[in-house]
């Protein structure tokens, strides 16, 4: 990682150029492997932000880490820099599943990393697990979930596996080396998790996320409420003044441009007109257990959501996918697993 010192320098230039004067209530180190950064590089970036922008005193500062890459002194050091939330990509506690997913760690390492984080003083830790893996069953998944719960994290994310083309696992399924993903089993696993996590005191606050009360990810709520965010670094995505922007995903281009003090051209820049702002606000908002309220939509867009989408809302409530509640709409438990069927109907 010889380029890391240069990368941090460029990042600081981008911070200065794009974040100056802004107020942030959360900061998220993620999308890739931020734990490749040394604690002093993390400190450098944080200093850049604190100098240029306003990081609110109670800001949520999350650090994403893979259990396999953490060395012992690392966690206390970043804790001391102000990182107050840790997201550990555990994915599974089964050795066979971790191998299938191409992960470097094993269950023991995962548990060890978690314990070290606790010892370092992290009191807001999120774990993520994957369901719907080929060859998995409801009981194997429940075992995984029990392992996670035994660690008592504040936050749990559950992601259904989707096979993307051109991935090794996709090819293995195509070639018959792995069985097809069974959608029925995946649905059963998800529903089992809903029961178990509710009983364990976690709130199912978003389609794929559960949290102990008060530990919902403030950062991610920004996305689902369709509020602005600034993404820094290569491949960083932003939503600013109704533009969806993406930085180039080419590290070379990112470095080249900033080394010459030129911002790279965005690889994506899409302006959302009012119709699309509204549609995306509804779609993202419906991911949350509270759904959307007519009042909030009216305040933000001056539109009467219940009237404008009356036929769609009627259809989806009739299908048992949506329910009306407290002056708004939200997904039913069935609707969560079939949410795409609801969402596309709100598209302009």
């Amino acid at each position: 990682m010889d380029c890391l010192p240069d990368y941090v320098k460029c990042l600081r230039k981008e911070i200065k150029s794009r974040a100056s004067g802004l107020y942030f209530h959360s900061l998220y180190f993620g999308g890739g492997t931020p734990s490749l950064l040394s604690p002093s590089q993390v400190a450098d970036i944080l200093a850049g932000i604190r100098t240029a922008a306003h990081l609110l005193p109670d800001a949520e500062i999350t650090f994403e880490a893979n259990p396999g890459t953490l060395a012992l002194p690392y966690l206390p050091e970043i804790k001391s820099l102000g990182i107050n939330r840790l997201s550990l990509g555990i994915q599974s506690f089964s050795g066979a599943e971790l191998t299938m997913l191409g992960r470097l760690h094993n269950a023991a390492k995962a548990r060890q990393a978690y314990k070290q984080a606790r010892a370092a003083g992290f009191n807001n830790i999120s774990l993520d697990l994957i369901y719907g893996l080929p060859d998995s069953s409801v009981s194997s998944f429940k075992k995984n979930l029990a392992e996670a719960l035994a660690l008592a994290p504040e936050h749990i994310s559950l992601y259904g596996l989707t096979l993307e083309e051109d991935t090794p696992m996709y090819r293995q399924v195509q070639e018959g080396l792995l069985p097809e993903i069974n959608a029925e089993t995946a649905a059963d696993q998800y529903q089992a998790a809903e029961d178990i996590l509710a009983k364990a005191g976690y709130r199912h606050y978003e389609i794929s996320n559960w949290a102990k009360p008060g530990y919902e990810s403030r950062h991610n709520l920004t996305y689902w409420q369709n509020r602005p965010y600034l993404g820094l670094g290569a491949a960083g995505h932003s939503f600013l003044e109704n533009w969806r922007l993406a930085n180039t995903s080419s590290l070379d281009e990112y470095l080249n441009r900033w080394q010459n003090d030129l911002p790279p051209t965005p690889s994506e820049n899409i302006y959302l007109d009012l119709e699309n702002q509204l549609a995306e606000t509804i779609i993202l908002g419906l991911r949350l257990d509270k759904g959307i309220t007519a009042e909030d939509i009216e305040n933000r867009f001056g539109q009467h959501v219940m009237d404008k989408y009356f036929p769609v809302i009627q259809e989806c409530t009739g299908l048992g996918l949506l329910e009306k509640s407290d002056g708004g709409i939200s997904l039913t438990p069935r609707g969560r697993l079939l949410s795409n069927e609801v969402f596309w109907r709100f598209l302009p």
Binding site: G160, I207, G231, L338, W344
Partner: protein, 605 residues
């Protein structure tokens, strides 16, 4: 040139036995075209014909030939369609000739379709010149083919000419044999005109151009002529022949083969098989009985995009200008929209029309499963012709149903007799008799035998031909001919999707196959219809009796698990695509069915 120096002949050959190559060689070796002027297979002019190796429309070419004893001859080579669907056109071509070259592939021997055409030629008293082609190929088995020709057709070895049309070997001998053995045309130039139409095509400038053989009298530019069968009248705008380019001539004499431009607007007004005579002082007796070729096979043709209906209508109109045997009637289906119920001479004819519509008119089509024309008598005594399963009266209103039968000839090595018998029996065939054609070179195959059956035409419209080929490792060949209508035991099977009957899926089937076919239909639909938000019930029924059922359980999971800042645009695109996909779905009641599901059920045999 005198009548005595004219020879009119055709070539009879199975597909790929070398008819077009031989025609090319005759054109080249008589000097009609120089080698460098030849494009391969001069006589197959439509692109489709050349690709499929079959000749759809007959054409005639005039060759000038100087024999070894220095006499000049006029050879009229009339091309014949090689496929069973066009047997009516073949018979008119044969009626226009005095001789036929029978081409048999030295590696394959006599095939069923060839034989049918040879018998037809013998019936019309044509002089047959048997030719063994492809003698240069390593797999040539000349003694065996000689034996077949002897035992089936009775020709001695010295009457058979061995050639390689590809290399030109034996072709000079064949040309000599044509002038020596094929008789000159009879007929009297002084009698009133009688000419037989053996082909026609539509030309946007000259109207219908009819190809004909002058049997008596002669044709001059400007003559007022009349078709004896149809009663159509026209003036000869132009007369001439093909050599192979079109050459206008002052007149066509008795015994000649050529064309006349009629100015008529559609080939339907000037059908093959009719006799042309003078409007005033014409002949009394036509040359042969005229009856228009009758459509035997019917299918619905619909545009995939319902907006393309007008384009389809125009395309059908254009194609039918040139194809008198294509019939079409508008029909509509709640699911498929507006389209046409079309009648064809056979399956190949259907395939060719669909391919031309798609290729030449750039249409995307939905074709329903082909069926036959049924004669249904109601209990009231009323007689109906049913070409669409949905016109079938209710079971209790039907007194009787009749369906077309064909007489089938299958030639196969004796090793496969049992297999062929089983296949025919499964398809309701009735055995008539067997003929032995002679020993095959590969002794394990046994003898070549010719099996005769009668079968419902309906059976041949399914996978019969494919099955015959695959069960006999490709050795068997098939020919069939309409023999008449016979009483049938048939019912209409319907497919219901959540209790809604889908008209496009209805078929006419024998009731004893109802369960099997019903199962196959619902199974296919179950495979093809994606899970919906509620359970979908698929049923196959005859009247109110359910014969097969399958359920598609409700979809439970369709979710984007991860949706954070960097995912939103990509996931939004997936939802946009999902919405687009829904637009392309067809609705059966509330159930969304992809177009592919439709097509696969329509194609299911």
């Amino acid at each position: 040139m005198s009548q005595s120096a004219t020879r009119n002949f055709c070539i009879i050959a199975h597909i790929d036995h070398g008819k077009s190559t031989l025609a090319d060689r005759l054109i080249e070796m008589t000097g009609t075209l120089r080698h460098d002027e030849m494009c391969e297979q001069v006589m197959d002019s439509m692109e489709l014909e050349r690709e499929r190796g079959i000749t759809i429309k007959a054409k005639a070419i005039r060759l000038r030939y100087l024999s070894k004893d220095s006499h000049e001859y006029r050879l009229n080579l009339i091309d014949t369609p090689g496929h069973v669907d066009f047997s009516y056109e073949v018979s008119r071509t044969i009626a226009a000739c005095e001789g036929a070259i029978l081409v048999i592939d030295a590696t394959q021997g006599i095939q069923a379709q060839t034989l049918a055409n040879v018998y037809l030629a013998i019936e019309y008293n044509l002089e047959i010149i048997p030719v063994i082609n492809k003698i240069d190929l390593p797999g040539a088995d000349i003694p065996r083919v000689m034996g077949e020709i002897k035992s089936v057709l009775g020709y001695d070895e010295d009457a058979v000419i061995q050639i390689s049309a590809k290399l030109g070997l034996g072709v000079p001998e064949l040309l000599e044999a044509i002038v020596a053995r094929v008789p000159a045309p009879k007929g009297d130039g002084k009698l009133p005109l009688r000419a037989l139409i053996f082909d026609s095509h539509y030309d946007p400038y000259k109207g219908v151009v009819a190809y004909l053989r002058v049997a008596d009298g002669n044709i001059n530019k400007g003559d007022d002529l009349r078709l004896m069968g149809q009663g159509t009248e026209f003036k000869v705008l132009e007369a001439g022949y093909f050599a192979p380019a079109q050459v206008a001539a002052l007149r066509l004499d008795v015994g000649d083969v050529g064309y006349v431009a009629t100015g008529l607007k559609s080939v339907g007004e000037c059908r093959v098989g009719d006799t042309v005579t003078l409007q005033h002082g014409g002949a009394i007796q036509p040359l042969i009985g005229y009856h228009p070729a009758k459509a035997m096979v019917f299918a619905g043709i619909y545009p995939t995009q319902t907006d393309d209906y007008h384009e389809l209508r125009e395309a059908m109109e254009k194609l039918s200008l040139n194809d008198a045997s294509l019939s079409y009637e508008p029909e509509s289906s709640p699911l498929l929209g507006h389209g046409f119920r079309c009648g064809f001479l056979g399956l190949l004819h259907l395939d060719i029309i669909v391919e031309r519509l798609e290729r030449e008119f750039n249409l995307s089509l939905v074709v329903t499963s082909p069926g036959v024309s049924l004669t249904v008598t109601r209990t009231s005594g009323e007689v109906l012709t049913v070409v669409n399963p949905n016109e079938m009266p209710l079971p209790h209103e039907i007194a009787s149903i009749e369906e077309p039968w064909v007489s089938v000839v299958i030639i196969t090595p004796s090793k496969y007799i049992g297999t062929v018998m089983d296949l025919v029996r499964e398809n309701y065939g009735v055995y008539k008799n067997t003929e032995y054609l002679g020993q095959l070179a590969m002794s394990e195959l046994g003898q070549r035998v010719q099996l005769h059956y009668d079968m419902p035409l309906r059976s041949i419209l399914t996978t019969f031909h494919d099955q015959l080929k695959s069960r006999t490792q490709g050795y068997a060949s098939l020919d069939y001919e309409f023999v008449g209508y016979r009483i049938a035991n048939l019912s209409k099977i319907d497919v219901l999707v959540n209790d809604v009957a889908v008209d496009a899926f209805s078929r006419i089937i024998p009731p004893d196959k109802a369960h099997e076919i019903g199962e196959a239909l619902v199974k296919k639909l179950k495979e093809m219809i994606p899970r919906q938000l509620y359970q979908v019930t698929l049923q196959a029924a005859i009247g109110s009796k359910i014969v097969a059922r399958a359920d598609i359980s409700a979809k439970r999971k369709d979710v984007i698990a991860k949706c954070y800042g960097g995912d939103i645009t990509r996931k939004r695109k997936l939802l946009d695509k999902q919405k687009e996909g829904k637009k392309k779905m067809r609705q059966i009641g509330k159930v969304e069915v992809p177009k592919e599901a439709f097509l696969s059920v329509l194609k299911l045999q």
